[in-house]
């Protein structure tokens, strides 16, 4: 009673806790958690994420679910429609399309994801260095990227195929020769923006080296757009692989990617449409899922962009 008459007497710990008991605190939310919360509210993006997880899961276990291998032929069962024996039907050599489709998923996803990851590494490095250094060096670097971009990539693909032989690695290499440019451009423009921020100037003023600023401040803060670009590069790499295979420049028989399967199925479209239907559906579904997820991530990382 005596003490409490003082208006400004310090509170004991118990009194403090009691006083704040009914106060609502916003929980501390990190950048990544915040993005995840927003992503979870985005139904199309969740659909994309779920579909992708399913597709990857099926790519891993799919080939084991059927009793057939992707290369064994059943010449008496050519062009069989989907049935209980062959769930997706068979092709012109009587090979099981279900098994081939999931093998194709492995190839397509592997090519798409690994090509995009290589693009990521080269693109981030090139773009970040150009953006950080600036001036004449930047101008020459970006001009170099422009010229590289103008070379028809089919020419590069065929050159590579003749030199190192056709195969999955050739396709990945061919996709990455020009594929990193887009990432480099985006990273550069991000770095240019972030470079102007006060905390970067402060870091420089405190004597941080360029390398440190790049690794500690610039790249982590450009991570959102980098991840979004990565998510949107994967479907275009998958498309490019499918397109090359569709032209007959892709992986060689008996391995199949979705693109080669679509190419094989095309002449049979009128009578055996399932041969084109399944690979075509999976290509489209995968690209759709990555695009939906990428759009969702963009909105999640940068809500200002959400219109």
């Amino acid at each position: 009673m005596e003490d409490k008459t003082y208006l400004f007497s310090p509170l004991s710990q118990a009194e403090k806790e009691a006083a704040f008991e009914h106060t609502a605190y916003a929980p501390q939310v990190s950048y990544w958690k915040d993005a995840w919360v927003r992503l979870k509210q985005n139904k199309p993006a969740l659909f994309g994420l779920t579909t992708l997880i399913l597709l990857i899961f099926m790519a891993i276990i799919g080939p084991f679910l059927s009793q057939y291998t992707y290369y064994e032929t059943h010449l008496s069962l050519k062009n069989d429609p989907p049935s209980s024996a062959f769930w997706f039907g068979t092709d012109e050599l009587g090979r099981d399309l279900f098994t081939r489709c999931w093998w194709g998923a492995r190839i397509s996803l592997f090519v798409g994801i690994s090509a995009s990851l290589i693009d990521l590494v080269i693109g981030v490095f090139f773009g970040a260095v150009a953006g950080l250094l600036g001036g004449k060096i930047e101008e020459w670097m970006m001009r170099f990227a422009d010229v590289l971009y103008a070379i028809p990539y089919l020419l590069v693909v065929i050159l590579l195929m003749v030199v190192i032989g056709s195969g999955i690695l050739t396709i990945i290499l061919a996709l990455t020769i020009t594929g990193w440019i887009n990432m480099a451009r985006i990273v550069r423009s991000q770095i240019l923006q972030i470079k102007q921020q006060d905390y970067v100037r402060a870091a420089f003023a405190l004597g941080a080296s360029r390398r440190r600023v790049l690794l500690q401040h610039l790249i982590p803060n450009a991570m959102g757009p980098i991840i979004v670009t990565l998510t949107l590069t994967i479907p275009s790499a998958i498309f490019a692989e499918a397109f090359l295979s569709f032209l007959g420049l892709g992986v060689q028989a008996p391995i199949a990617s979705w693109g080669t399967m679509a190419n094989d199925g095309l002449p049979a479209l009128r009578y055996y449409p399932w041969r084109l239907f399944f690979p075509a559906t999976f290509i489209s579904l995968t690209m759709l899922s990555f695009n939906l997820l990428g759009d969702g991530l963009r909105d999640a990382f940068d809500p200002r962009l959400k219109k």
Binding site: A150, A242, F246
Partner: protein, 311 residues
């Protein structure tokens, strides 16, 4: 402005020269000989062929001769198809691809802007969601898959349109739609994003408070600013659709230019590879230049901005 455009033109011509040079040396570094195919050719005949086409000379002389030809718009004879010149091949294929490309371009631009505007004006309502779902599907489905799907459904099952070949207008419909789908979806998204932003500007509020209806606001005030990014995209897009697509031409049996880009490379038909590549690059650069020109006319601010950006 003249100075700005002159600078742009100089950069374009420089880039064209670089592309020509790079392609020339890349192409000649491909192992293999354009005249050695399945059958073995006697040594003397091969030598005579090489002499006839100038392949026996040192590379730098071939390069010099080629550059000289390009300057006179003379792209040389095809190695693979005797008696045909690259100029003839382009003259045969380009009008077909151009016609188809223009049809696709009209569908893409018109459809894209209308869809994008509808989405933006009904922002976050069901029309918006519907349009954006269509757009993301359009971006995700590869053109060769859409083409085969249309061919199967409209031509083979419903018998509404001819399956393939070239000549009548009805034969152009499916290829044009297949070509247009992706750019249309892309333009719809671009238009929507920019239109939404523009519609929040003060001058649109002013127009609203003056009592204009939303159609007038869009046509008279919003569209000009909202379409700037679309105009940028139009340059590369026009070049790409005008020069044909190998997959679409293969599926619909169209005698366009697109097939030559692929077959010439697999045939090692050096002059056709060079010719089509240079032709495509020239068209691309011309389109980009025209877009720059349009930009200056539509929005005088851009010149200053680009100079500041140093691009």
């Amino acid at each position: 402005m003249t100075q700005y455009l002159a600078k742009k033109a100089a950069i374009l011509i420089g880039s064209l020269f670089l592309v020509t040079t790079l392609t020339f040396f890349l192409m000649h570094s491909i192992p293999g000989d354009p005249f050695v195919q399945d059958k073995a050719i006697p040594e003397e005949i091969l030598k005579a062929l090489h002499k006839h086409y100038g392949l026996d000379q040192p590379l730098y002389i071939q390069y010099g001769k080629y550059l000289d030809g390009v300057l006179h718009f003379e792209l040389g004879p095809s190695f693979k198809y005797e008696g045909r010149t690259v100029n003839e091949i382009i003259a045969d294929g380009f009008p077909v691809s151009f016609y188809l490309g223009m049809e696709a371009l009209i569908i893409a631009v018109f459809g894209g802007i209308v869809l994008g505007s509808i989405a933006a004006l009904n922002h976050m309502r069901w029309q918006d969601h519907m349009t954006m779902i269509i757009a993301v599907i359009g971006i995700s489905v590869p053109s060769f898959i859409l083409a085969t799907f249309l061919q199967y459904l409209l031509a083979m099952k419903l018998d509404l349109l001819p399956v393939a070949r070239w000549g009548t207008f009805s034969q152009t419909i499916m290829p044009a739609i297949s070509l247009a789908a992706l750019p249309m979806a892309f333009i719809a998204r671009l238009t929507r994003a920019n239109m939404v932003e523009v519609m929040q500007q003060d001058y649109i509020q002013t127009a609203k408070s003056k009592g204009l209806n939303s159609f007038q606001i869009v046509v008279r005030h919003a569209i000009r600013n909202a379409l700037m990014p679309v105009v940028t995209y139009l340059g590369p897009l026009t070049a790409a659709v005008m020069t044909g697509s190998f997959a679409i031409e293969k599926i619909f049996g169209i005698p366009g230019l697109g097939q030559w880009f692929v077959t010439s490379i697999t045939n090692r038909d050096y002059t056709v590879i060079m010719g089509t590549t240079i032709f495509y690059s020239a068209i691309l650069m011309l389109c980009v230049f025209i877009v720059d020109l349009l930009y200056c006319l539509i929005d005088p601010r851009i010149q200053l901005k680009q100079e500041i950006d140093g691009r």
